[in-house]
Symmetry: C4
Subunit: 189 residues, 4 copies
């Protein structure tokens, strides 16, 4: 089974998600500055999600580069990750439409949390396919950064009912922490 | 003629289908739980179709991996399969909008049945291109699982007029039976 | 300059066009047979255009397979072809919405005619890049079939004002004639 | 880290952008010439943006062909470019809907200016990854053409308040100047 086709398919899905997300930015109805104003929160939500999908693409790229062998379980773990990522455009659009409401901010974080779990499962499935002594297992280590991200999402979700912008700030901070590609893998490999 | 470009094109179409299907999940109009409620059946229909397209991608991947040679007939048999799969997003959206009506459930099954036939035709066309003594012919064998799936769809379609959820349950069971990638091919190859 | 990236980009654009075209098939508003009826002409127009884009993908595949060298002019001739093909979804949607009006049928044929010219220009640009003694030049020959198709479109367009279904019948006949991949190239190569 | 996956991902995103842009061309509501008339400016804006995205794809292709090594910074510089390019469909749709208003023409130029800067940053990041003595550094030279384009956009933006068509004319002229692929790189490599 070729790793190349899995990478190409994942790249395809992520490229399409990152691009159809922009369809949530509707063409403004007027031709003046007032017509642009409602787009501002949608634009900011779009930029945040663009960075998130970029991070996933980047880290997916590094992780599969370090992996040698894949099997049927990896294919499904990968589709499971793509499933949660496929919900990012709709949660982004909802967050952008209602930037002051708690539920959209919480649901956005919920999808991020589930995507984080799915990435973790994919990582473990890939390591299991390589053997515990593999380069990938050494590179990933205990994956503290992934764990902390998932904990951050879990804390940020209920905080949306205190103020949604607290949650959004947490999501932005987690994105900033992941902005750098996974140096552990780059170093080890 | 290169097999690679056929695989890349099919991956592209399936990746796009799996992703535009999410566009049927419209951004909710309100910002509360009540606004999310009408999305529940659409979300469940989306998840079922996501699994179906994942199964097709997986099995397509395995089948072409086992095939060596392709010809002009294979290209068209492949496009024929992609044609029926391209109707999955619309039948999914319709099923999600009307989860209690018989016709959308029946049409969903009808498209699944036609995609199942198209997959079978592609399989036979590929085998014909390899020769009857090929690895692929041995791997596919009598394809009892494919036949049983098509029979299940054919039975489930009229049952939609008894209750649409019976049909949907059959579709979900068939998906569950295919969840595992086609072990016969993996074993033989 | 690598031929592979040109093929991958063209495959990507054609795969996306073939797939977003299905978005013109809107999810029906009701849950009964009456709700499906207005979809019938849109579905037929979709099927015709699906076959057309499949033919273009197929022949593009064969032509580039036979070509060895590409240059900057080929890149732009290829983008020019993709430009006219990118209008197929909208002309298909318009034809499907108004199957009895002359103008949509004529505009559909106009885009087909321009795409046909663009394909011819791409063919000539590729031959010029290979040299007149190339396999591709021998394979394409005088391209009588391409010429006859363009003449058929040019005749079918004004006939839309006699009856749009005459034009549509001509388009369907031309598609049928191209259904078989370009045997000349397959034979020669 | 493989350059191939970066190219494939960028090709995917640009192919999707070029194709979803056509979704701004809505299917006309009537079946006569009057129904087509409002599409004319949208069509012209679409054609201009199609050429722009074609130019970016072409030059991106050449630049990465001349580059040997990439790193994590290049991945993000590339995503940054794709981010601004992803806004082209919406600014194109807005410009097409309001061809006589200054703001849409200015915003269109603003996105072009930011995409131009992002391309310049990607170029410098790639050169830094190769070393100052690289083929790419020699090929790009002082990049006067890129600088002049960015200056032209910066001048054209305020001119939209004199008349939006002046700005649009400048954008079209810059596109015409870039139409030819970057000969410097082709020559040197």
């Amino acid at each position: 089974m070729t790793k190349g086709r899995l990478e190409a398919f994942s790249d395809g899905v992520i490229a399409i998600l990152i691009t159809i997300m922009v369809l949530e930015l509707k063409v403004p109805h007027g031709d003046n500055v007032a017509a642009l104003r409602p787009l501002v929160p949608v634009f900011l939500a779009y930029a945040l999600s663009f960075v998130y999908l970029g991070i996933y693409w980047n880290n997916h790229h590094h992780m599969l580069h370090a992996a040698g062998r894949i099997n049927g379980k990896v294919l499904w773990a990968n589709l499971h990750l793509l499933f949660w990522l496929s919900l990012v455009p709709i949660t982004t659009g909802w967050l952008g439409d209602h930037p002051r409401a708690p539920l959209p901010a919480a649901v956005y974080g919920g999808v991020m949390l589930l995507a984080g779990f799915a990435y973790h499962i994919l990582e473990q499935t890939l390591i299991a396919a390589q053997g515990a002594e593999s380069k990938l297992a050494a590179a990933v280590g205990r994956d503290l950064k992934g764990l902390l991200s998932r904990v951050s999402y879990a804390i940020a979700i209920p905080l949306a009912w205190v103020h949604p912008w607290i949650s959004i700030a947490v999501y932005a901070l987690v994105a900033a922490a992941w902005f750098v590609p996974d140096r552990r893998i780059e170093r080890t490999v």
